[in-house]
Amino acid sequence: DQQVKQNSPSLSVQEGRISILNCDYTNSMFDYFLWYKKYPAEGPTFLISISSIKDKNEDGRFTVFLNKSAKHLSLHIVPSQPGDSAVYFCAATPNTNAGKSTFGDGTTLTVKP
């Protein structure tokens, strides 16, 4: 039972354009959502998060949108840069409990110069 899904295994965009990565979840107990970024041969690093009391959180070029009724969140990167090329993992957790994080299987983003 995959509670967090990222249905696009890969995404390719042109430098300067918007990248939109999507994530769906099924467990209503999730109330805190995070995006992690992972470069090859490195561990995932935290990128941005959103609590279920919000529907949008912005940090520079990165914005995460949450649609609770649809159990859907998305990560927008604008403008995309070649250095953004990485695997992006969506994660969800109940009660801001990192130990209960459930991860999606990642989307590989390639930003072409």
Partner: protein, 116 residues
């Protein structure tokens, strides 16, 4: 200064052998974890320790045994290695629940285990 470091980064061994992966964090976090990333790229939690005490033990074979000598270290020992154990193992840590960044995980670089 690496926040969460794990060694070795690469490990190639034969079936049936016993091996260990070490992890150390210098972030002052109370909670540490072991995650397994399999060939399908899923990150799945294996164990969680809070201040040296085991708090999460997912369905993992008994051949896997974590050990936490202190709250800054969490090692993973694997007995009688099998082909299916081949994966990347990530150590992680997090702040105490209720603190500002409690929901975030801080990962090490990963240890790629290949069992032949």
């Amino acid at each position: 200064d690496t926040a969460v470091s794990q060694t070795p980064k690469y490990l190639v061994t034969q079936m049936g052998n016993d091996k260990s992966i070490k992890c150390e964090q210098n972030l002052g976090h109370d909670t540490m974890y072991w995650y397994k990333q399999d060939s399908k790229k899923f990150l799945k939690i294996m164990f969680s320790y809070n201040n040296k005490e085991l708090i999460i033990n997912e369905t993992v074979p008994n051949r896997f045994s974590p050990k936490s000598p202190d709250k800054a270290h969490l090692n993973l020992h694997i007995n009688s290695l099998e082909l299916g154990d081949s994966a990347v193992y990530f150590c992680a840590s997090s702040q105490a629940w209720g603190t500002g960044r409690a929901g975030e995980l801080f990962f090490g670089e990963g240890s790629r285990l290949t069992v032949l």
